[in-house]
C-alpha cells in the first residue's frame, strides 16, 4: 500500500518520459523522403532547401507515391513517411505569390505509414507540419497547403488524415492494454485466492486426501478462475466499450470508416486475439496458483501475486504510449519475454493484419504456460503444496548472509 504508489508513479513517469524521448529521437533521426515531381522548379528547390535546414532529407525525382511504395523506398531510407511535391508546384506558387491569384492553391502531399502504434505516434508528423508552417511564415501566410494521406497496410488511402486516424485509434490503443491489464490482475487475484482460501479455511488437507487426481484439483481451480475471470472480463469490456464510444461519438474524426480501411480485425484476427488472450490468462492463473501455494492465507497469496503486477502494468503502459516496433531491440526482447505483453501485441498485430507476430506470441506464451502448468502440477503432486513457504524477507536475509561470506 505504501511501496507500490511510491514505486509505480516514478515508473509511470519514467515510461512516459522514455516514450516521448524515443518518439522524438526516432522522428529527429528519421529520413524525410521527398518525391520531387516538379524537378527544376524554383519553388520546389526552395521548399526542399527549406526543409533540409531542419530535417534529414533524401530527394527522389519524378517518382509517384505508388512507385515509391512499389520500389520500397521507405524501408530503404528507414522512413515512415514521405512528402510529394506535385507537378505544377512551382507554377501554382508563382501564380499565387507573383500574380496574387488567391484562387490557386499550391500544396504538397504528405503520406504517412499508419502502424497502429501508440499515443505519441504523431510526433514525427508534427515536424513536417512545423516545416510547412514555417515555410508559409517565410513567404506569405497560407500560401502552401499540406494534403495528408495515410498508407495503411501498404495501400495509399488518400484524404485519410493520419493524425485524425491516430486520434481515433488511440482509444483502442488505450482500451486494449488497460482491459488486458485489469483482466489479468483480477483473474490472478481470483486464482491465488482459490488455493489460499483452502489453506486459510483448513479445507486443503482434507481435499488432498480425497480419491481425486491432484492434477484434476489444479485444473478445477484454474477452470473456476478462468470462468469467473472470463465473466468479469466480458462485463468489464462491455462497460469499457460504452465508455470509449461515448468519447468516439464526440470526435469529428469518427467520420473515418475503420472497417473500409481494413483497420478492424478479421475473423481470423479475432480468433488469434482470443487464443492469445486465453493462453496468457491461463499462464497468469497457473503462476498465481503456484505462488499462492507458498502462502499461508489469502492475504499472503495476494501479496505474493502483487510482485507480478509490475510485469503486467509496465508493458501495458509502455505500449499505450509507444509502438512496439519503434522500441530499442533490448527493450523489445524484454517485452517479448514477458508473457503478459503478448495479448497487447496481438491486438495491434491483428488490426494491422500482422498474423505471424500474433502466432509467434501464442507459441511462446503456450510454451511458457506449459512449463508453469508442469511446475504447478509437480507442486500439487507433492507435499510442497502444504509445506512450501516463500518469504522474500528470508530470501533477502539469505542473500545478504551469502554476500557477507
Amino acid at each position: 500500500m505504501i511501496i507500490v504508489p511510491l514505486l509505480m508513479f516514478p515508473v509511470l513517469g519514467a515510461i512516459m518520459s522514455f516514450s516521448v524521448h524515443t518518439a522524438q529521437e526516432k522522428a529527429a533521426t528519421a529520413t524525410t523522403l521527398i518525391l520531387n515531381n516538379d524537378a527544376g522548379g524554383n519553388y520546389s528547390d526552395l521548399f526542399i532547401s527549406f526543409v533540409k535546414t531542419s530535417l534529414k532529407v533524401y530527394v527522389v525525382n519524378n517518382t509517384t507515391p505508388e512507385q515509391a511504395l512499389a520500389q520500397n523506398l521507405l524501408s530503404r531510407y528507414n522512413s515512415t513517411y514521405f512528402l510529394e511535391i506535385p507537378q505544377g508546384f512551382t507554377a501554382n506558387m508563382t501564380q499565387r505569390l507573383n500574380m496574387n491569384n488567391t484562387t490557386v492553391t499550391a500544396s504538397v502531399n504528405f503520406y504517412v505509414v499508419f502502424s497502429g502504434g501508440g499515443a505519441f505516434e504523431n510526433i514525427g508528423t508534427s515536424l513536417i507540419d512545423n516545416s510547412v508552417s514555417q515555410f508559409n511564415r517565410y513567404l506569405a501566410p497560407d500560401v502552401l497547403a499540406i494534403q495528408k494521406s495515410a498508407i495503411i497496410k501498404g495501400e495509399i488511402e488518400r484524404r485519410v488524415d493520419p493524425s485524425a486516424l491516430s486520434t481515433l485509434m488511440v482509444s483502442q490503443a488505450i482500451a486494449m492494454p488497460v482491459t488486458i491489464m485489469i483482466l489479468l490482475t483480477y483473474s490472478m487475484q481470483i486464482a491465488a485466492t482459490s488455493v489460499a482460501m483452502e489453506k486459510e479455511e483448513k479445507t486443503l488437507e482434507t481435499l488432498l486426501t480425497l480419491p481425486v487426481d491432484r492434477f484434476a484439483i489444479l485444473m478445477g481451480k484454474l477452470a473456476g478462475s478462468v470462468l469467473v475471470a472470463g465473466v468479469g472480463a466480458l462485463t468489464y469490456m462491455v462497460g469499457f466499450t460504452f465508455y470509449i464510444n461515448s468519447f468516439s461519438s464526440l470526435m469529428s474524426s469518427s467520420a473515418i470508416d475503420l472497417a473500409s480501411l481494413g483497420l478492424v480485425p478479421s475473423l481470423l484476427g479475432y480468433l488469434l486475439l482470443g487464443v492469445s488472450l486465453f493462453v496468457t490468462l491461463l499462464s497468469a492463473l497457473a503462476l498465481a496458483v503456484v505462488l499462492s501455494a507458498f502462502a499461508d492465507d489469502v492475504r499472503g497469496a495476494q501479496s505474493l501475486v502483487g510482485y507480478i503486477y509490475p510485469l503486467l502494468i509496465i508493458p501495458a503502459l509502455l505500449m499505450i504510449y509507444i509502438d512496439f516496433n519503434s522500441l530499442p531491440t533490448w527493450l523489445r526482447i524484454i517485452l517479448f519475454i514477458i508473457p503478459y505483453s503478448h495479448p497487447i501485441l496481438a491486438s495491434k498485430a491483428v488490426t494491422m493484419g500482422d498474423y505471424p507476430t500474433s502466432v509467434l506470441g501464442i507459441i511462446y506464451v503456450s510454451l511458457f504456460t506449459i512449463s508453469i502448468m508442469y511446475a504447478a502440477s509437480r507442486l500439487f503432486a507433492t507435499e510442497k503444496i502444504l509445506t512450501a513457504k516463500l518469504k522474500f524477507k528470508d530470501l533477502w536475509k539469505r542473500g545478504n548472509v551469502e554476500a557477507e561470506k
Binding site: 479445507t203 488437507e205 480425497l210 507435499e383
Partner: protein, 245 residues
C-alpha cells in the same frame, strides 16, 4: 499383502529441515481396532497421521495401509481411507448438507450411494435442521460434528482422526466419541486417532501408543499399561513414561 493389519509402519523417519519429526517409528494397527496415539506436543503424532493419510512422504522407512505402500500406492490408499485434520474446516458458504453431498461425490459416482451416505452422515452428525444453514454459522462443536460425520460417512476401511474432539465442550465431545465407537462396532471401520485427552483415549481406544520425540515409547491396551506402570489412569502412565512425574 499382510493380512489382518490395517497399518504397518517400519523405521519411519520424517525430517523437516533441521527437525526430526519421526525418528525410526515402528507401528502396527490391526484391522477393526481403535488405535490411539498420545504424546506431548511435537512428539510426531500429526506427522505420523499425515504420512499414513498420504499427505506427506516419509523421508525413509515404509508405511503400508492394508498392504498398500503409502508412497507408491497413494492414489489407491486415498480410496479406502478418510482423514480428519486437527484444524479442519468446511466450505463456509455451503450448508452442512451441501458440504456432505459435495464430499460424498468424491467417494462415489452413484447418486443413490451419495444420498445414502448423506442421509447417514446427517443422522450421525446429529445437527438436525441446522444442516440447512451455511457452515459459517456453525459453532466449533457443530463444525467438528459435521466433519466427523463426513470422515465416517463413506465407511472407509481406515479413518484417521487427528484430535477428533479437540477444543469441544463436554456435550459435543461425548457425541463425537459415541459416534466413533458406534461406527466401528456397526461397520468394522478401523480408526487411528490422536489425542491429548487421556480420558478420551482410555475410554475409546482398544490400544494406545505413546510417542515422544518421534519414537514409539510404549504401546498396549490401556488396562495393561495402567497395570504395568501401577497407575490409576493413562495420565499417570504418560507422566511416568515422559518423565515429569
Amino acid at each position: 499383502m499382510t493380512l489382518g493389519l490395517a497399518v504397518e509402519g517400519k523405521s519411519v523417519v520424517k525430517i523437516f529441515g533441521s527437525i526430526r519429526a519421526l525418528d525410526g517409528l515402528d507401528l502396527t494397527i490391526s484391522e477393526g481396532e481403535i488405535y490411539g496415539l498420545i504424546g506431548p506436543n511435537g512428539a510426531g503424532k500429526t506427522t505420523c497421521l499425515r504420512i499414513i493419510s498420504t499427505l506427506i512422504l516419509p523421508t525413509s522407512g515404509t508405511v503400508k495401509v492394508f498392504g498398500l505402500d503409502a508412497v507408491k500406492d497413494a492414489g489407491e490408499i486415498r480410496k479406502i481411507i478418510s482423514y480428519l485434520p486437527e484444524e479442519a474446516g468446511a466450505y463456509r458458504n455451503l450448508s452442512g448438507i451441501e458440504y456432505l453431498e459435495f464430499m460424498a461425490r468424491f467417494k462415489t459416482g452413484n447418486r443413490e450411494e451419495t444420498d445414502r451416505m448423506v442421509t447417514e452422515a446427517a443422522e450421525v452428525s446429529g445437527l438436525g435442521d441446522r444442516l440447512r444453514d451455511r457452515a459459517k454459522t456453525y459453532s466449533k462443536g457443530m463444525k467438528r460434528r459435521l466433519l466427523v460425520a463426513r470422515a465416517l460417512m463413506s465407511k472407509p476401511k481406515l479413518s484417521v482422526l487427528d484430535e477428533p474432539a479437540s477444543g469441544l465442550d463436554v456435550m459435543h465431545t461425548y457425541h463425537v466419541r459415541e459416534t466413533i465407537k458406534r461406527f466401528v462396532k456397526e461397520h468394522g471401520v478401523t480408526v487411528l486417532l490422536s489425542s491429548h485427552n487421556m480420558l478420551e483415549v482410555e475410554h475409546l481406544c482398544d490400544r494406545v501408543a505413546l510417542l515422544n520425540k518421534g519414537k514409539l515409547v510404549i504401546e498396549g491396551r490401556p488396562q495393561d499399561l495402567k497395570q504395568q506402570f501401577s497407575s490409576s489412569n493413562l495420565e499417570e502412565v504418560f507422566a511416568k513414561v515422559v518423565g515429569f512425574a
